[in-house]
Symmetry: D2
Amino acid sequence: MTISGVMRTGEVCIRVMDLDAAREHYGERVGLIETLRDEDGTTYYKAWDEHDLYSLVIRPADHPGIEHVAFKAVDDATLTEVAAKLDALGFPTTELPAETMPRSGRRFRFTLATGHEAHLYAEKEQCGNGMPLRNPGTIPPPGTVRGMRVVRLDHCLLGGGDIDGNIPVFKDAFGWSLSEKLIDHETEMTLAMFWTGSNTPHDIAFVRQPDDNRFHHASFLLESVNDVYHAADLMGYYDIPVDVGPTRHGITRGATIYFFDPSGNRNEVFTDGYLHYPDTPTLVWDTSKLGQATFSQDNTPRQSFLEVLT
Amino acid sequence: MTISGVMRTGEVCIRVMDLDAAREHYGERVGLIETLRDEDGTTYYKAWDEHDLYSLVIRPADHPGIEHVAFKAVDDATLTEVAAKLDALGFPTTELPAETMPRSGRRFRFTLATGHEAHLYAEKEQCGNGMPLRNPGTIPPPGTVRGMRVVRLDHCLLGGGDIDGNIPVFKDAFGWSLSEKLIDHETEMTLAMFWTGSNTPHDIAFVRQPDDNRFHHASFLLESVNDVYHAADLMGYYDIPVDVGPTRHGITRGATIYFFDPSGNRNEVFTDGYLHYPDTPTLVWDTSKLGQATFSQDNTPRQSFLEVLT
Amino acid sequence: MTISGVMRTGEVCIRVMDLDAAREHYGERVGLIETLRDEDGTTYYKAWDEHDLYSLVIRPADHPGIEHVAFKAVDDATLTEVAAKLDALGFPTTELPAETMPRSGRRFRFTLATGHEAHLYAEKEQCGNGMPLRNPGTIPPPGTVRGMRVVRLDHCLLGGGDIDGNIPVFKDAFGWSLSEKLIDHETEMTLAMFWTGSNTPHDIAFVRQPDDNRFHHASFLLESVNDVYHAADLMGYYDIPVDVGPTRHGITRGATIYFFDPSGNRNEVFTDGYLHYPDTPTLVWDTSKLGQATFSQDNTPRQSFLEVLT
Amino acid sequence: MTISGVMRTGEVCIRVMDLDAAREHYGERVGLIETLRDEDGTTYYKAWDEHDLYSLVIRPADHPGIEHVAFKAVDDATLTEVAAKLDALGFPTTELPAETMPRSGRRFRFTLATGHEAHLYAEKEQCGNGMPLRNPGTIPPPGTVRGMRVVRLDHCLLGGGDIDGNIPVFKDAFGWSLSEKLIDHETEMTLAMFWTGSNTPHDIAFVRQPDDNRFHHASFLLESVNDVYHAADLMGYYDIPVDVGPTRHGITRGATIYFFDPSGNRNEVFTDGYLHYPDTPTLVWDTSKLGQATFSQDNTPRQSFLEVLT
């Protein structure tokens, strides 16, 4: 297959402290569709145009942050093969007990060099996007697209010390491309790396941080800049704390708003960007243009954006 | 690599009868960037956000239509490998003389089951998208994005008799996915097939037609529905013959306008659509919903759209 | 006052044959808000961003068409004054019984030269746009903006024989501007006139037709071209009969879709256009450019658009 | 006439220190069209969809700020009449020498209560919007719409002490409406007033400031939120200092970016907002919601926005 191996970041599981507030945030305001709920309160969501049963999982906890990020392989044979590669590359995998994550197939766990728990899986129940597979039409039933009108889970950005240490995972085991990177303009040290598994400008990114296993944000795809403004108007209406935006990133060229869920986890809505292919040159940004690299419409870095992680 | 094998439809070469008119059309009005010109008048264009030196080639002739379509493999080893697969699958390949197409590397020619000339290549000179690779910013210099503001060559649609006969090429040799197909609702005969090499809803499509080697359209990507309207306003300004649109397809969900170049070749501007992955179910449309499948905002098929090919 | 006299077309009352179907159409699909209902089934609607209690009234009948169009004067003194002018100009007015239209003040009836019943009023109960008058915010509560997301009643287009005969009403009694007109390019006969009471490109228009008292369409304002596409997608979803569009008018420069309610009355969704002022020159279109005047993106007139009225 | 009296803010004259930089800013970057140039360097601009010869004038000086703002009356009789009203209301008018402003007719000067020089005129040469008055089409020739794609001068915001003192000018002499105002939530003192002459949410606004005759910004109309993003991308490209945005105002509901010209004068690009009529209730904001009143997507006031004037 042309898209083979590990297709995408398929699932992010984050910790929330006030479950009711989190459900209102992700369900009513962001507009995700709740598909499952565990007895302990863990709640599973999908965006409307995803076919898999869930892509965002929120789990009750006493502090915010990320539990795990999970990557979907194209089939079970690939799953086995990539797990073996990870083992060989020094990222030992453990097969998780069945139903660790509900209605999802075989699943391997491993730890990224940045300390994050990662999963690899190939199967998850598909519930579709609300449109039939025969003569689907072009829009789901009215009422399906709600809240901020998010279309898909797009990517996440994680923080940790040894971001170079993840190169074997994404480059060698997954076969992903480095679409962009940010380097220190004096030392040339890599400060952030952006990895993509297909045409999107990034599926996951890492920023160098003093502490491991940190969560910067999970991002949801929007259809258009118009929907970015619509989402921003809703944020104002609900008085959702906004970190930055609406604006555009230099890195990825994506139009963006950063905001916080009630537990302090950063979310993003994102659109635009370019089509990446393996023959697209890797773009390099340096800290002499940190403002432009992060927020390209006013070329001004934001302290909170650089420093607040959960 | 995750995107491996044959990445995309990288080049379309079409015949034009009035070269000056064609250059004005593709260069000034569609807004492609001319990058090369042969002595015989053959002219090479790229859209602004493509890195390769050309994606559309127009060649003087006494009748319109397509000369060849070319697919870009991810690297030279893949090129060799896919050419061997094509040979084995009954699509004998011939290596073309160097510089058959300028500043492009090794290239194999083969004939599709629908009678179209196809090329396979892995190398083409890259001239970039007008933005540096270090600290690129987010837009190219003002003046770069002109005319209809097309971003990339997106796909083409070809007509011929044995569209099923192309399955080995796209499925087995290229490893592409069938994103959608149209079938006769009584006989279940497949009438059109839509193939994608990555996340886009299609890279190439085929429609069953009595005659082989026919050209339906070449399509260029736009950024937004706003740019669809902008393109439509330009079409009115220049009195470009419009076939259909602005509207939206059922198949691919793409927003679209079909129009004709001065030689009668159909062009399309296209945006929206969904992200396709190998685990996205193939969508099936049948002719009981032919109107919706083709033009989903009024569910009305157009005779010219179904019948006019070059 | 700068905007004084007769401010706008404030109300259109149309006949519908299947009341349930009409209510589903205007309420659920177009997205108007029902505010009143009479015992005979007459139903009153407002668009979300209108402050007055209703702007569209649908009345059960055995044939479609327009009952009356009503114009809102700036205050009661103006109402008296304009009614007197109409009387003097040969358009005798009759004061209608109180509560002819509910929760609306003094109201005069007169007949246009094209045979249409027209009302003039200055008071109607205001129920607001769902946002408080103190610290209103920028969007109404989620759920308020539904269906096609129409913002306001924009204008209507009526057909009849003596369209010049209405000049005294709009020019002399109302003080409105002729923003555009369409003339026969050979005889210079005026075929259509577009009148505006303020900055919008038209509040009401008339097209010359063999029969008097005909209704061409009522039009609702949208916010953006994106919402035009959203409305078109809904039309496809609900299989609403579309006459023309999405496209753009030459006259008024408005982006448009024409479609029909279940009784066969034509509706329009409309956006863009320019800001008209009294010092904006009147634009003249002639029938040598009829295609561009009506539909400027393909410069092609539509027979149904020119001939179907109710 | 329905729009009668004083139609709009028709002209703003501002001081610039570096003329070449200012011409590049307003001409190439903002995208205004230069129409006249005086020997002293004073340069006259119009936006593409304005018919009058100029709406923005830049004049060389050693400090930034506003020279005068000018209001256009509907005709010469109105000019005389409004000038007489101003005299009677305690705003003595002086008729300016002919050709004080080029190719403009009779012109009266008076001083606002906030210390600003104001002009009143009824005639200015019209050069059109690049489109013929007969069969105009819908877009001007390609190349006309450049830079940030601004459509018109929209409004300006001025600062001074006695903003209530301007009520007689705008309410009584001009007949304009107060569309919105901002008050102190404890003292109820009016802190800002927004006046409109027609359907736009404001033609001019005043903010209470310790010093008279201060200039907050001149604002240019854009067509859509997409063009707001386009303008923002250009600001990043040219490294134009951005004050705030893209975002949306609470007051006026307008989408906005504030930025600075090379002399430090604040500019705005603006779109959206609502249609104001004389029967639209005046909206009141108080300082308990200052964040929302100013920037409604994050409900956060900006110090620079409140304090920097020229």
